[in-house]
């Protein structure tokens, strides 16, 4: 590993300190898994919403269906109406689909790119490692929101650009995790054995190393997903993210912000939606078995 590696603050978020004392550990694990189950339930709920959204909307999300703006919750409009009199339930269902879908795609792209680059660095020479690490170190130094502002200013905001921006911004973090996993794996006996018996580098990387990286990379993928949700809804809140007529959860808060004074559900509910999604992901990942153990093993290696 390059000694000057700049630490990224993100992965430490849910990182567990290794705990000793078996009684303590058992108690805290039970408590955490309760929180973890809540997290899992929230995540599953939002995934289902994102998946089924278009088929369960009661109204067309763009249609003005009520003459009353910022209507309170009612039987006809379970979540009230927005600043134009559109049905809020439909808009949140579709908004969640944008938020979850975009963030999933971007997090997947970032994790894949990070894993591939991490493996590449582990099986190639020093120069490739230096070059890749340097460039990714530079990208990680541009805070993700700043990077997104630069990209939006240069190219204008669009869904593909937001996806690309989030993916680029979060690739270095995934790369660091993948690289350190791959470096640890490359000194294990079975990988050495595969090398000695003359397997090709690609075989060593894909058949021997990759399967053992998938679990930790999945936990990291969840964290990356959460950060991308925060980034994209922040951008939409500023009016620089998903552009009207389409709207993700962040844009819903922005366009209904004038209802804040009267406490309209149109502005409060999308806010709750974002918070339950991101908190759910974070609680779930923190409770994943193996996160604590992984840090312990990493420390011992």
């Amino acid at each position: 590993m390059s000694p000057q590696a700049i630490p990224s603050p993100e992965p430490q978020l849910a990182a567990h300190s290794p705990e000793t004392g078996s009684a303590r550990r058992r108690r805290s694990r039970i408590a955490l898994s309760a929180a973890g189950r809540v997290g899992l339930a929230l995540v599953v709920f939002w995934m289902i919403v994102a998946l089924l959204g278009p088929w369960i909307v009661p109204h067309r999300p763009g249609a003005v269906v009520s003459s009353e703006v910022f209507a309170p919750m009612s039987l006809r409009f379970p979540l009230g109406t927005d600043f134009l009199g559109r049905d809020m339930l439909s808009r949140i269902l579709i908004g969640a689909r944008y938020t979850v879908g975009l963030a999933l795609a971007a997090a997947l792209a970032a994790s894949l790119a990070g894993t591939v680059l991490g493996l590449l660095v582990a099986i190639s020479g020093r120069w490739v490692e230096e070059a890749v690490s340097r460039i990714l170190d530079a990208i990680i130094c541009i805070p993700s929101k700043i990077f997104a502002l630069v990209m939006v200013a240069a190219f204008g905001s669009s869904v593909p650009l937001l996806l690309l921006t989030a993916a680029i911004s979060y690739t270095p973090g995934a790369f660091r995790i993948a690289r350190s996993l791959a470096v640890n794996l490359s000194v294990t006996d079975y990988v050495q054995a595969a090398r000695v018996r003359g397997e090709r580098r690609l075989h060593v990387a894909c058949i021997e190393m990759l399967p053992n990286m998938i679990h930790p990379m999945l936990a990291d993928f969840g964290l990356r997903f959460m950060f991308i949700v925060l980034l994209l809804s922040g951008l939409s809140f500023l009016g620089l993210g998903v552009q009207p007529p389409a709207a993700d959860l962040g844009s819903l808060i922005r366009e209904n912000i004038s209802g804040l004074g009267e406490g309209a559900p149109a502005v409060i509910l999308p806010a709750i939606a974002i918070a339950t999604l991101t908190i759910g992901v974070n609680l779930m990942i923190d409770a994943l078995p193996g996160r604590g153990r992984r840090t312990e093993r990493g420390g011992a290696a």
């Binding site: 700049i6 991101t278 908190i279």
Partner: protein
């Protein structure tokens, strides 16, 4: 790799400078991938080709990208990063006006979040596994996951709209009284503190627990030393390095948070300047702001690194 602490630190600084150079290349190439746009934007769609060509020559847009990059980099290093496209003022003047305000906000946030996070983190580590610790874990995990704009809008709704206790906008006065300062700054500072404090608490807790697991603390416990003495006298001095590292890394969260918070409260800082530059497509301002934020991030990481080097005798030898 061998070397004394000063040479190790010098190496880190050199690496940071190299990284910053790469950052400048990335920022410049993204913002100048669409050539001639600045002139077109300034003159509009109906500009004559001659006027366009003249303005391009004036702005130096007719030169190859590498020359423009070197010119821009030279300006950046000598404190003359060009002029704003929207109001023609030098970028350095605009930033000089805004930077102290942003630093004030960051300073206030640091002053609030660091003591709070340290106290909570140390208490959580002392009573780890207890109800208090678990409650703190869930709270901080949730706080990290809540976006700044949610905290800020909820705060505005409750304390400014409903209760009229605090101001929804932050006015910068020349000689504010303490009361005015409190009214204006409480909401932005609290919004910024949210994620930073939570992050710092978790890292502090981990650093202290790491020390509490060491044999020397066990030894002290076996000798009959009490819990608070074990933590405060034995473990804490050894955890200072990791904690300083944690503080510096957590503070880097401020940089992104500032973008949202300064916009919501219409606070006249650098982040607000940058968001305005995006809407105006004011590239010189945008580039300079991006470089300031990246340099700020690198600076904090460098401080974290140096703290880790100074506090860890093993690193000194490696």
């Amino acid at each position: 790799m061998s070397g004394s602490i000063p040479s190790l630190i010098a190496k880190r600084i050199a690496a940071a400078a190299l990284t910053l150079l790469l950052v400048s290349m990335i920022v410049f190439s993204i913002t100048s991938l669409l050539p001639g746009d600045a002139a077109q934007a300034a003159l509009g769609q109906n500009a004559t080709p001659a006027a366009l060509a003249a303005l391009r020559a004036q702005l130096g847009l007719d030169q190859p990208a590498i020359i423009r990059y070197l010119h821009w980099l030279g300006g950046l290093l000598t404190g003359h990063p060009g002029r704003s496209l929207s109001d023609g003022l030098p970028v350095s003047v605009l930033i000089a006006k805004r930077l102290p305000e942003s630093l004030l906000l960051a300073g206030l946030t640091t002053a609030v979040s660091v003591p709070l996070a340290l106290a909570l983190g140390i208490v959580a580590a002392m009573y780890r596994g207890s109800w208090l610790d678990r409650a703190l874990t869930i709270t901080t995990l949730s706080m990290v996951a809540v976006p700044e704009f949610l905290v800020a809008t909820a705060g505005v709704l409750i304390f400014a709209v409903e209760l009229h206790w605090l101001s929804a906008l932050t006015f910068v006065l020349d000689h504010p009284t303490f009361g005015q300062l409190l009214r204006g700054y409480t909401l932005p500072v609290v919004s910024l503190c949210f994620a930073v404090t939570a992050q710092m608490e978790r890292m502090t807790r981990a650093a202290v627990i790491d020390q509490l697991n060491q044999p020397y603390v066990e030894m002290a416990a076996l000798k009959g030393v009490g819990l608070s003495r074990r933590v405060l006298v034995h473990a804490l001095p050894n955890a200072v390095g990791p904690i300083a590292n944690a503080i510096a890394l957590s503070l880097s969260y401020l940089l992104g948070g500032a973008i949202i918070v300064e916009t919501i409260f219409d606070y006249p800082g650098v982040a607000r300047l940058m968001v305005d530059a995006v809407s105006n497509r004011d590239m010189p301002v945008l580039q300079a702001c991006a470089m300031i934020f990246s340099a700020g991030y690198l600076g904090l990481v460098l401080i974290a690194d140096v703290c880790a080097i100074l506090s860890n005798p093993k690193l000194r030898r490696s």
